[in-house]
């Protein structure tokens, strides 16, 4: 058996206590402050806390109802939440314990407000207890902020890159055909080289009805089917673009006979006019087509050709759909599918 008798009480020099708990406050039996830790002294700067009544310096928010020093000393060992009366933004949390025979020792920390407090009062690592994780918290906040900044920048860059990629894209994502931007580029090249070509402007008849009746998925299926038809019927050197909802343009390089263009149009119309099955339903569409060629013009001009080919398409629609029209002025209508129409232009060669 040991004769060791632990001493029931300890006493500290205030300076030692301050190193253990730099934010402690000791009060006497009357609730007057008798000693404070170094960090507490630093926070309250010029106000000397010693000798002041604790409740004059701090507003006790929790537990509720502590307005007298007796109630403070009675409830000091419950969870404490305080704010400084002189600095209402400065709050503390902590716990007190009675000092045997004389008042209480209250140990405080900043809680979640620690970052503001550190900034406001220029606290350093030495102002925190060795066991306090405040500095680690500050480290973490700063590290996470740096990481978030990096991620935010990354997102901005990726978003920018995506926008650039989209704006430079030349492909229609649904059909895999070229898009309007690609079409503009290729037409400009033809115009610059003054090369001959034919232009077909196509749209789908009854497409809106299919979309409304069977839904967008069915509509998309029709568009893809039409894209396949156009790709199959044209040559690989021809250029096929989807330029709008159900609007397509085919550019056929070099001079082509009108009879050949008629044949191509006929094949397109007959193929797309076959019922298309989708999800158990039979969808019926056809195509109206306008055609123009550089050889129709004395001096071919892209903007005239675009207007004329659009008019020719409109003429096909007006004449009952499922047909193609050439923009060659007042020529007679030929055949049941192919309509020759439409405009009078002074510079037409036909």
């Amino acid at each position: 058996m040991s004769n060791f008798q632990p001493k029931p009480f300890f006493s500290f020099e205030p300076a030692s206590l301050a190193r253990l708990m730099p934010m402690y406050i000791a009060v006497d039996g009357q609730g007057l402050i008798t000693a404070v830790g170094t960090t507490m002294a630093k926070i309250f700067q010029s106000d000397t806390l010693i000798g002041k009544e604790f409740l004059h310096v701090f507003d006790v928010r929790r537990p509720a109802g502590i307005v007298t020093s007796e109630s403070l000393l009675r409830q000091v060992s419950e969870r404490l939440k305080l704010t400084a009366r002189s600095q209402p933004g400065l709050s503390f949390r902590g716990l007190g314990m009675p000092i045997v025979g004389q008042g209480a020792l209250i140990n405080l920390s900043f809680g979640i407000g620690v970052i503001d407090a550190v900034r406001e009062h220029h606290l350093t690592e030495a102002d925190f207890a060795q066991t306090d994780l405040a500095v680690e918290l500050l480290y973490l906040v700063e590290a996470k902020t740096a990481v978030l900044d990096a991620l935010r920048n990354l997102n901005l860059r990726l978003d920018g890159a995506k926008k650039v990629a989209e704006s430079q894209a030349l492909t229609d994502p649904l059909t895999g055909l070229r898009n309007r931007r690609a079409l503009d580029q290729i037409l400009q090249k033809f115009e610059q080289r003054k090369a001959d070509f034919s232009l077909m402007h196509l749209d789908l008849d009854y497409f809106k009805q299919v979309n409304d009746t069977f839904g967008h998925a069915a509509g998309d299926h029709i568009l893809k089917t039409f894209a396949n038809v156009l790709t199959r019927v044209t040559r690989s050197s021809d250029f096929v673009a989807r330029v709008g909802g159900d609007e397509f343009v085919v550019v056929l390089p070099q001079k082509r006979e009108m009879a050949l263009l008629e044949k191509i149009a006929e094949r397109i119309i007959s193929e797309i006019s076959m019922p298309i099955e989708y999800d158990g339903n039979l969808c019926r569409v056809s195509s109206s087509i306008g055609i123009t060629c550089t050889q129709f013009y004395q001096v071919p001009n892209l903007s005239d050709m675009m207007v004329d080919v659009d008019d020719a398409l409109y003429a096909s629609k007006k004449a009952g759909r499922a047909r193609a029209s050439f923009a060659v002025g007042d020529r007679a209508v030929l055949g049941s599918i192919i309509t020759r129409s439409v405009r009078k232009r002074p510079n037409l060669t036909f």
Binding site: I115, V118, T124, E142, A146, V147, L151
Partner: protein, 195 residues
């Protein structure tokens, strides 16, 4: 490996030696047109290629380049974050040395994917230390030499810091503390001012 490491190398070479040098290194390393993203992951060999590429283009030993990288990480204003995060390691240079043992854990706390060197500190006397580190990149100890020398300056401590060789995949550094408060050191506020 997280792009942060490659990104650091890229910024270091670009800022120190110019865009042309960086472009030459990138070509040798097979990553021209690559803008390294700190938070994306890249194959490990790219880092090695970059270091070797830099040594070839700059005609300087790998060790010197890595040491300069370490110095750059702490002393260049454009990467102030690194210096600040290291300063959280403690109030004195010796505190910092001890906190290097937590480097890996601190890194993971910030970015779970971030792999930093595993560091062990041996305190021989209160002025004499041996620091050893393990990391997949050969010569990481030289980065630490540059980095810790710059941090000693930052704390205002006078130290003698040397690479003390490589064995069993450990790089060893010897650190002699001559004067902990030799100079004023740079100011460090725990919390950055807002705005």
């Amino acid at each position: 490996m997280l792009g942060l490491i490659n990104r650091s190398l890229q910024c270091f070479l670009h800022e120190t030696y110019g865009a042309n040098t960086w472009a030459d290194v990138a070509v040798i390393a097979g990553c021209e047109h690559v803008e390294f993203e700190a938070m994306l992951t890249y194959p490990d060999e790219i880092t090695e290629n970059l270091i070797q590429g830099a040594a070839t283009i700059l005609r300087r030993p790998r060790e010197t380049i890595l040491e300069d990288l370490g110095t750059y990480l702490v002393s260049n204003p454009s990467v102030e974050a690194v210096r600040r995060l290291l300063r959280f390691g403690g109030a004195t240079f010796v505190d910092l040395l001890h906190s290097m043992e937590d480097l890996q854990a601190r890194g993971r706390l910030a970015v779970p994917d971030l792999e930093l060197p595993e560091i062990e500190l041996q305190e021989l006397t209160s002025e004499s230390f041996v620091l050893s580190c393990v990391y997949p990149i050969l010569g990481t100890g030289h980065v630490l030499v540059g980095l810790l020398r710059a941090m000693a300056d930052d704390y205002g401590a006078l130290v003698l810091l040397e690479h003390a060789g490589h064995e069993d995949s450990h790089d060893r550094l010897s650190v002699q503390l001559l004067d902990q408060s030799y100079a004023e050191g740079r100011h460090f506020e725990l919390a950055l001012s807002t705005g």
